[in-house]
Amino acid sequence: MDEHSNPARHDDQSRAAARRFLRVFAWLVGITALVVASVNLVAYRYMLRADNQDIVQLLSGWGRMYKPILYDELKPKVAVFGASWARDAFDPIETSRLVGRAVFNHGVSGGSDYETRRFADAALDNPDLEAAIVNLDTFYRDEIGARTRYGFDESILEVDADLRPNRWVGLRRAYSLALTGWAAGANLNLIKAIHARDSGVAKPDYLRSYEIANLTWHAQEIDETRKRIFPEPGSDPIKSPGPSVDWRQMAPPAELAILIDRFCDRGVDVYAYYTPSHTRNQACDLQASREIATLEFLRRKQASCNAKISYFDFSYPNAVTLEGVLIPVEASEYWRPDDHPRPTVGLLMAARMFGREFPAGTQPILTQDFGADLMSHEDAEGWLIDRSARCEGDWSDKGYASYVEALTEP
């Protein structure tokens, strides 16, 4: 047989074998696709139920595909944007109850600035959206990160990066929901979690966002933190590692600027915030350069904004971020094992942002000192500098003794 002659054997036997091959292939692919699509689509209807939203929206790993689709179905009035720090902090059911409006948590694992802005672009298509809670940590980063992560598919968003409508979105979404490994993976996890909930398993055991950190595992770091933040009277201040970047010398994050402009144009109120992080992980910036740079940037934006911009900083030594520093805490109220804030912190933040009652049982010191709207504060820069000073033991803004007393209460 020469090089260019017909390649396969031509006999009837070969063709019959090929037909059998194609039949088996087609049947297997067809049946698998049908079964997977049916299961996935049924599961999707189940996902839309209001009482499943905590599990669905706090489930880690599948948000890039599901959340834009779910968001468009649920049409919330408030949406949370950011990475997993935001995803883990805001339980949509509890936060909706507290705020009195339907809240959707659009946070995704490792969400980049670009992805977050794109999710926000698509969210603007919902005319019911009144407010956006935006985690600023997603945008102010001094490390290299990927622009997008695996699973982020811009073609399922209603609009492209320039807000032009995307083509075939319905078809792509139907495909994503029915015939992707993402759908299958998410459904398996979802079914497992719902089954655990219905069997009476405790929330921290089936919802990762509610997992509880044992802060005594970090005893040495916490001890160092305690010595630095609550120094013995008369002892020398202990320096902590400072920030690597002076944000006041840098341009504001481009994606954040786009996101704020677009929310402003559509009249959507913005609640921008820095997430709390445990004090043992906080770098001390006595000049609060990042927070003040953000403040100046947001003030400039507010000047031409059709909506209200609020700005909260929770990332300073306070009763949440100092948990376990003065007395050992084995079961943290506020922190997950990976140092993300738990939904209990999200409720405190939401109460402060939306001016609602703090949840019952909240420590009084938290109701007095946990974030403030810096856009309307008379001396926002002073507030930020005072709180930054705490991280090296300067408590002149607030009684050292009263904090020690509050934090050592059992």
Partner: protein
């Protein structure tokens, strides 16, 4: 349209159904249908560039036909020069104009406006095919050239935008001899299997971890410190990425061609099993290597005019080969590195033959020594190629140099925090695949789905191919193909196009 996308799968399904229906009514209609489908495929991206493709075909057809009509020698020479010049001008304008202006501005400190030109997809591939056709016509090596065969030869969608670079003598005889253009079950089954395995390599094996690799290159591009481990993660990681990406593409292209009963040339044959850089280029992007060898290296003198001339020809060929991949100095340096590697390889071979024949013979007599030397040669070749990939992948010379310096251990151990995540844990699996498993062409050897596979009979270094790993049209392979396809299909995410689509 990218092969690994939902839109392409839909396009393929529609084209196959149309081809089947048309074939049932009139088996001659298959060819025009493939031409129409190919033009739709190309125009899906930027319809206006269909005019460019059409103009290229018309122009080259006229020139080739005129040359084949044997005008006077001077006119023939003028025609071939005109043809090649205009083809190179086309690719030069679209691909290199900005690069040339930028380089001028940089070296002469001028301020010419850098043109903002969108590169027509596949232009490097179809222009090379046109040039090879003209040269073959000039050398009287084209047996027949019918217009519609020429149109399909250039536009056939499986090879249009990222190769293989098909030569006229590979495709034209198939097109000329073909009478029955209806869909055949055996071609379709084998083509689907090849396509499925290619899709699997891309969507399952490599795409999910690529973002982690990108982090290291982004860090280098941003001027962040990168260390020894980062540098090698970048070099080896991109080596794996481009390997799986391009081998996936090649399998899919050959599979797609075969679905319609056309055989495309082999393009990829376990290049990381090569025990020398020369062997590497016999196995990597085979259709390009052959083109460069036949239309550049040999006309430049080849290896028959002494060692200095050979080395010069190698370096020039590889530098231009590098430039073919992209308009940037990083690509030129990548090509020069390979030119240098090949030169060292030639010099070494000459040295061993003339000065160390005894050592060479004693190594050959010992099976263990032969194996050890071969294994060492494979590893050295792999490391050299991986080092060069850093230049190929880096967005600019600064970041390439930063990574290269790091690879020599001059900048600490490691700096990028993501190093331990993502792609690095996959390295052992990738090494197992690239060094120990048979390649797709070996698995599908019995199907003869690709041209020139037999040329690689002696290059097989996989552990023996077990019978059960040889593709067959039986139920076991049907189930395997279905599972592979389902997994690959469910992992489709429209995330990253094939690397070679940008060339």
């Amino acid at each position: 349209m990218v092969f690994a996308s939902h839109s392409f799968l839909a396009f393929l399904a529609i084209t196959l159904i149309a081809y089947w229906l048309v074939g049932r009514s009139d088996e001659r209609l298959g060819k025009p249908l493939l031409i129409v489908a190919s033009f739709i495929f190309y125009g899906y991206w930027i319809p206006a560039y269909l005019l460019l493709l059409t103009a290229s075909i018309l122009f080259n057809h006229v020139i080739a036909r005129t040359i084949m009509n044997h005008p006077p020698a001077g006119a023939r020479r003028a025609l071939i020069v005109l043809g090649i010049t205009l083809n190179l001008a086309l690719i030069g304008f679209y691909k290199y104009a900005a690069f040339v202006v930028e380089s001028l501005n940089w070296t002469l400190q001028t301020r010419f406006d850098v043109p903002d030109i969108v590169l027509p997809i596949g232009i490097s591939f179809f222009t090379f095919q046109q040039i090879s056709l003209l040269v073959d016509a000039y050398r009287d090596r084209v047996a027949s050239l019918r217009f519609w065969d020429h149109v399909l030869f250039i536009s056939f969608f499986p090879q249009l935008i990222a190769g293989p670079i098909v030569r006229q003598h590979d495709m034209m005889p198939q097109l000329a001899a073909r009478r029955n253009w209806s869909l055949r079950a055996d071609y379709l089954a084998i083509g689907i299997a090849l396509f499925a395995f290619g899709l699997f390599k891309k969507t399952v094996l490599i795409d999910p971890v690529v973002p982690y690799l990108d982090l290291v290159y982004q860090a280098a591009a941003a001027g962040d410190p990168v260390g020894f481990l980062d540098g090698w993660a970048a070099g080896l990681g991109y080596g794996f990425q481009v390997y799986f990406d391009f081998s996936a593409y090649s399998d899919m292209a050959i599979g797609l061609g075969f679905m319609f009963g056309l055989r495309l040339p082999i393009n990829f044959f376990s290049p990381y099993k090569a025990d020398s850089i020369r062997a590497f280029w016999r196995r990597w992007h085979i259709s390009l290597s052959r083109f460069l060898r036949d239309y550049l290296f040999i006309p430049l003198g080849g290896s028959r005019h002494g060692l200095p001339r050979t080395v010069a020809a190698l370096v020039i060929t590889m530098a231009l080969g590098g430039l073919w991949h992209g308009a940037g100095w990083t690509f030129v340096i990548w090509g020069l590195l390979h030119g240098a590697y090949l030169s060292v390889n030639h010099l070494w071979r000459a040295f061993v033959s003339s000065r160390l024949p005894g050592v060479r013979d004693s190594v050959r007599r010992s099976r263990i020594l032969t194996l050890a030397v071969r294994a060492l040669s494979i590893v050295i070749t792999f490391i050299a190629v991986s080092f060069a990939w850093v230049f190929f992948r880096s967005p600019d010379l600064d970041s390439a140099m930063r990574l290269a310096v790091a690879m020599f251990g001059f900048s600490g151990w490691h700096e990028v925090v993501y190093l331990s995540r993502g792609i690095v844990p996959m390295f052992p699996i990738y090494l197992l695949i690239i060094w120990l498993l048979p390649n797709t062409m070996e698995i599908f050897q019995a199907t003869r789905a690709a041209l020139h596979v037999e040329d690689y009979r002696d290059d097989r270094v996989s552990p023996l191919l077990p019978h059960w790993l040889s593709f067959n049209l039986n139920a076991r392979w049907a189930v395997t193909t279905a599972l592979v396809f389902i997994l690959a299909w469910f992992m489709l995410s429209n995330l990253s196009p094939f690397i070679y689509f940008q060339f």
